[in-house]
């Protein structure tokens, strides 16, 4: 790419002069020409001492130039930041939001798509570079993403409204007012045929002028690593889908995809979805309390219903198909635990709420990985994912999630999942900052006509922490390997031993973003961390429930129980027991005590003193660490009454003869007990 072009600029010339030259060169840039863009990049590279002036010139150019010339100018910016990097990233980063958004508002959908793609690459490391940092730090790209998502979401909703009214008006007729043709080829927009929908100002010249294939046939592509944007179906275009335009579609994303004959697609699609549902159901059976699986399952079932009951526009089908295909691909949880990129301590704080987890955690939070994989479809790419952490609350997930209800095509949700509304639960968690606000499964359900790729692609698989302040994780070194010569003698205690401090930090692994607890990066550590994140997740989940129920301080344990109790790591005692510990749940299985049945001690005072109707005895109250609750052991709720599980089992075993007593039947004693408890109730 070296070029004589740069010689045009005398070294040491004042910044103004360089900037002026650069500006002029930019003015000449009217199309997506790799040659010219390379030149401009080289100039920028060789004049880093004037980086500020050059970046200002480019910024101003992007602002002032006609919409048709904005994309090539952006390609220059893109090329400069990727090939030169600092200090340009710094200078561009400062106002990237306004630069990007102002232009985005003015350009047409094709250019927007290109800009989306470009934005996506900015959140990743430069392809082929050893530097694992993203092109722009997340705090620069995130606001842009957020704004785009917001805009799209509202556009989608408006579009669907519009669509519905259109359909009501003209049946299945398509508005012809302003058709925007779309193709699914990755060829530059210049190859598109003229568009009639573009605003008058530059409409006529748009397609001819803007991106004519450059003479040398080469175009600058910011997708230099050749990866494809998601959302681009691979089928050849068989027809063009004309998108209805309306006021709402000004923000709308191009429906750049062609699609197959709908019937075909739908058939494959249906079978794909059916497969996924089967898989999800199996998963659900394994993790019945994993709301993420429920969410996904519900979404898939909804999708199935939609597909079977509605005739969807082909573009939406194409989108769904894409989603489903990716979901299927991602059927295996990918425990892609990478040590977070080693970054020097960043000067910049991270704005948004802390991500709940690090790399491995998303999949752990969202269950056995499938949903995480859905979000992390890009995880297949070998590059480290960009630390676009903290995508959290600002991403306005509620709108996205709420889409099904806006979607006029969506029938009432057909849910076969036992939990009433996992969505609301998830939403609460998001609100609590517990979950990254990620437009997750509903993207597949609601089939928004968005380039989901750019949307989902922006969510890296694991939300690595933005920057790890401590040195990269060393491989685990037991303390014994580190010379620890401290003895309890004044002289020895006074010597600073910085090498030992690492035993409390980096040697312990990377910290949990919720509580700072560190976990090793080996297999066991990862497993523990996953369990730990699950625990955080469950606690937050349960805290909301508990708040409603009301909670109280428990009695302290007595001596004997205390001596016998063991501090199990709360979070390492995974699912089974804890899951069943929920109110009303019974029949948990723990490793130690198979088929342990218990019930959370009822808060209702009337129930709290209840006795087993069969044996007339009280329940054994016990603090269950796994459940973080006091429970009645061997208890089971049948209807409104609580029984000893063993009594009930015995009683029902022989034909429901409920007179069978447990232990020595002492009806009189039992009666007395019942009275006592009645008195107690009154007194309390």
């Amino acid at each position: 790419m070296a070029d004589s072009h740069s010689s045009r600029l005398a070294y040491g010339s004042p910044s103004d002069e360089v900037a002026e030259d650069y500006r002029k060169a930019l003015e000449d840039l009217t199309m997506n020409s790799r040659y010219e863009i390379s030149n401009l990049t080289v100039i920028a590279k060789e004049n880093t001492e004037h980086a500020l002036a050059i970046s200002e010139a480019l910024k101003n150019h992007i602002k002032q130039t006609s919409p048709a010339k904005k994309l090539p100018a952006f390609y220059v910016l893109d090329s400069v930041v990727k090939n030169v990097g600092t200090p340009y990233t710094l200078f561009f980063g400062r106002q990237l939001y306004s630069t990007f958004m102002e232009a985005y508002a003015l350009v047409d959908n094709n250019v927007r798509r290109k800009m989306d793609e470009m934005l996506k690459t900015w959140k990743e490391p430069v392809p082929g570079s050893i530097d694992t940092r993203p092109v722009f730090p997340p705090e620069v790209t995130r606001p842009i993403e957020n704004a785009l998502i917001k805009a799209r979401t509202s556009a989608v909703q408006a579009h669907q409204e519009h669509l519905r009214s259109q359909q009501q008006l003209m049946g299945r007729g398509r508005p012809i007012a302003s058709p925007a043709p779309y193709r699914n080829t990755p060829t530059p927009p210049g190859a598109l045929r003229p568009q009639t929908q573009v605003p008058p100002g530059y409409a006529s010249g748009y397609s001819q002028q803007q991106f004519p294939p450059p003479a040398n046939g080469q175009q600058y592509s910011n997708q230099m690593n050749g990866h494809q944007q998601y959302g681009l179906p691979q089928q050849p275009p068989s027809q063009h889908y004309s998108q209805p335009s309306g006021s709402a579609s000004s923000w709308q994303q191009p429906q750049m995809m062609g699609y197959r004959a709908p019937e075909n697609s739908i058939d494959t699609l249906n079978s794909d979805i059916a497969n996924l549902i089967t898989a999800s159901k199996a998963e659900f059976a394994q993790n019945p309390w994993d709301s993420s699986i429920q969410t996904r399952l519900k979404a898939l079932l909804d999708l199935q219903t939609i597909l079977s009951s509605q005739k969807l526009p082909p573009d939406q089908i194409a989108l769904i198909k894409d989603q489903v295909a990716q979901l299927s691909e991602a059927s295996q949880p990918q425990p892609r635990i990478q040590t977070p990129p080693a970054h020097p301590p960043p000067p910049a704080p991270v704005a948004a709420a802390p991500p709940p987890a690090q790399q491995p955690s998303l999949s752990s939070i969202l269950g056995s990985g499938a949903l995480a994989a859905l979000l992390a479809r890009q995880s297949a790419t070998p590059q480290p994912t960009p630390p676009a952490q903290s995508v959290a609350p600002v991403r306005s997930p509620p709108q996205t999630r709420a889409q099904p209800s806006y979607n006029p095509l969506a029938p009432p949700a057909s849910s076969s999942t036992p939990v009433p509304d996992p969505n609301s639960l998830l939403e609460k968690l998001r609100a609590a900052g517990m979950l990254p606000a990620v437009p997750a499964v509903p993207a597949a359900t609601s089939t928004p006509p968005l380039p989901i790729g750019s949307l989902v692609g922006s969510v890296p698989p694991g939300f690595p922490p933005p920057f790890i302040n401590t040195p990269p994780n060393a491989t685990r070194t037991p303390l014994a390997d580190v010379p620890n010569d401290v003895v309890l003698k004044p002289a020895s205690l006074k010597i600073p031993r910085p090498h030992l401090i690492s035993n409390l930090y980096e040697r312990l692994g990377s910290p949990c973003t919720q509580c700072g607890r560190r976990f090793q990066s080996d297999d066991e550590g990862r497993k523990k961390k996953t369990a730990h994140m699950d625990w955080h997740f469950r606690v937050h989940q349960r805290m909301t429930e508990a708040e409603k129920r009301g909670q109280h301080r428990s009695w302290y344990v007595d001596e004997l129980d205390w001596i016998k109790s063991r501090e199990v790591e709360e979070d390492q005692n995974t699912s089974a027991a804890d899951i069943a510990g929920g109110p009303g749940a019974a029949g948990s299985v723990t490793a130690n005590e198979p088929k342990l049945q218990y019930l959370a001690v009822p808060d209702d005072p009337a129930l709290a003193n209840s006795i087993c109707p069969i044996c007339q005895e009280k329940f054994e109250m016990k603090w269950l660490d796994d459940a973080q609750e006091f429970v009645w052991m061997d208890a089971r709720k049948i209807g409104d009454r609580i029984y000893h599980a063993s009594c009930y089992a015995e009683a029902t075993k022989d034909g429901g003869n409920s007179q069978v007593k447990r232990g020595t039947p002492e009806p009189i004693l039992g009666k007395r007990k019942a009275e006592v408890s009645g008195i107690e109730n009154r007194r309390l």
Partner: protein, 467 residues
């Protein structure tokens, strides 16, 4: 007790608004502090106030517990310090008195931890005993902060130390007046002193399970006849747990003491008592030359029950230690009691009130050793004739007092009741002498009249919880 964090390290002036003028700085709204490596940001938040702290970059720890990056921590009514080994940037929202200190005894403290860690490693390999550490020192020398620091470091390295609190002035995972033994296997709640004992609901920070005894007086010397046997009992339970529980056994014990025992003869006897009951093998003397030499004299040549000698180490007091005045301590006690019944801001608890007839309640009042009476006895011998407790009928005297509900039967002997652990605490909210009944606030809705209750003078009856 939750405010134990305040205990000593951090400090500067008093939190009371009246003392504000003496404060080096009063931060307001949002401030970002850049801390150099090995420096400490000390802050005081007045009771009733709160600040939010967020670590933006670097590493930071509060009394040994690492703070998560970009996580907002809220501190209420506390005196504490954030230390950094690597340097960090913290963002502070809200007003507090604060300053940054470059000089800290942290190297000393962390080396102490690593020395203990070595002993633990050795112990788990069968070489020697695990450390059973006693921390002594004058009041406000930073004992509890050091205990917490050593505990937190041990937890971080995967240990499960047992923490013993013998200071009834402040509680540990319980209210003042209690003595507790608690194994720590999970992260200490940095916002809430030591964290929380179990509740009926989930907890954002894992709860700890204390074994709780009741002493009910502010100073061990107020009634050594009660204090010593209770300690003996607690040591027995703790030792039993240790012998059963390998993880704790390898980690050892860390014992906090009240400052008053470090002040002279009578107190030294109590130290000896603790040393022998808990088989202490390491004594950390905080901030007092004289105490150090007294301890040397007392324990040189001493052998524990397992035949070990005692290692005695003098450690410097942190410059951040600050005197906590009576008012602050009183408010801290109140806050601890309030927290016991009503929870903390992260989690609201709903206690229950119940009416109890005078005749149904079995209440034992702790007799305070009467110094007048003792002085008449030959050789300062204690009056062993007098019973420990006096069975009393409720009266208006008991209003706003705390009663400890014991794990004992109504007809148990006084010794049995003394040795029993505490089931929970209740608060007398109303006394109606005419109708002979009282209103009791209990953490949960269970009958309490089938157990004896102990009425101590500590924590004092000073406030109305239900207002």
């Amino acid at each position: 007790m939750a405010q134990l964090s305040g205990v000593a390290i951090p400090g500067l002036g008093q939190a009371a608004p009246t003392a504000a003028s003496s404060a080096p700085a009063v931060a307001a709204s949002v401030a970002v502090h850049e801390l150099q490596a090995n420096s400490e940001w000390r802050f005081e938040v007045a009771i009733g106030r709160s600040i939010e702290v967020k670590v933006l970059s670097g590493t930071a720890e509060l009394f040994g517990t690492e703070l998560a990056l970009n996580h907002t921590y809220t501190f209420r009514g506390t005196k504490a310090a954030i230390f950094t080994w690597h340097g960090c940037r913290i963002e502070v929202t809200g007003a507090c008195e604060e300053y940054t200190a470059e000089e800290t005894p942290m190297v000393l403290y962390v080396n102490t931890h690593f020395a203990l860690e070595k002993l633990r490693d050795d112990a788990s390999k069968g070489k020697g005993e695990s450390p059973r550490v006693l921390v002594v020192g004058p009041t406000n020398a930073g004992k509890t902060s050091l205990v917490k620091l050593l505990t937190a470091y041990a937890i971080r390295m995967g240990r499960q130390p047992m923490v013993i609190n013998t200071d009834s002035r402040e509680g540990l995972l319980s209210i003042p007046g209690s003595l507790t033994a608690t194994p720590f296997a999970s992260i200490i709640d940095v916002e809430q002193g030591w964290g929380s004992s179990p509740t009926s609901g989930p907890s954002p920070v894992p709860v700890k399970l204390p074994l709780c005894y009741y002493y009910g007086l502010p100073s061990p010397e107020d009634n050594t006849r009660l204090f010593k046997p209770v300690l003996t009992r607690m040591a027995l339970a703790a030792t039993s747990r240790l012998s059963d529980d390998q993880a704790i056994k390898d980690s050892g014990m860390i014992i906090d003491t009240p400052g008053v025992v470090s002040q002279g003869k009578g107190g030294y006897d109590l130290i000896s008592h603790i040393v022998s009951e808990f088989s202490v093998n390491i004594i950390l003397v905080l901030g007092s030359e004289r105490l150090h030499s007294d301890m040397l004299r007392r324990f040189s040549g001493y052998r524990t029950t397992t035949g070990e000698t005692i290692t005695l180490v003098k450690l410097d007091k942190s410059g951040g230690c600050v005197d906590r005045d009576d008012e602050f301590m009183r408010q801290t006690r109140e806050a601890a009691i309030r927290e016991y019944f009503f929870g903390d801001p992260k989690r609201t608890l709903s206690p229950h009130t119940q009416q109890v007839n005078f005749d149904d309640a079995t209440i034992y009042k702790i007799r305070e050793a009467n110094p007048m009476l003792a002085s008449f006895l030959p050789g300062g011998e204690e009056d062993t004739e007098l019973e420990l407790y006096e069975k009393v009928e409720p009266s208006s005297m008991i209003l706003n007092c705390i009663l400890a509900v014991m794990y004992a039967a109504l007809n148990d002997s006084q010794e049995t009741i003394r040795d029993a652990t505490v089931m929970g605490f209740v608060y007398v909210a109303e006394v109606d002498e005419k109708k002979r009944r009282m209103k009791i606030l209990a953490p949960l809705n269970t009958r309490i009249t089938d157990r004896p209750m102990i009425w101590g003078s500590w924590p004092e009856a000073t406030m109305s919880l239900i207002g």
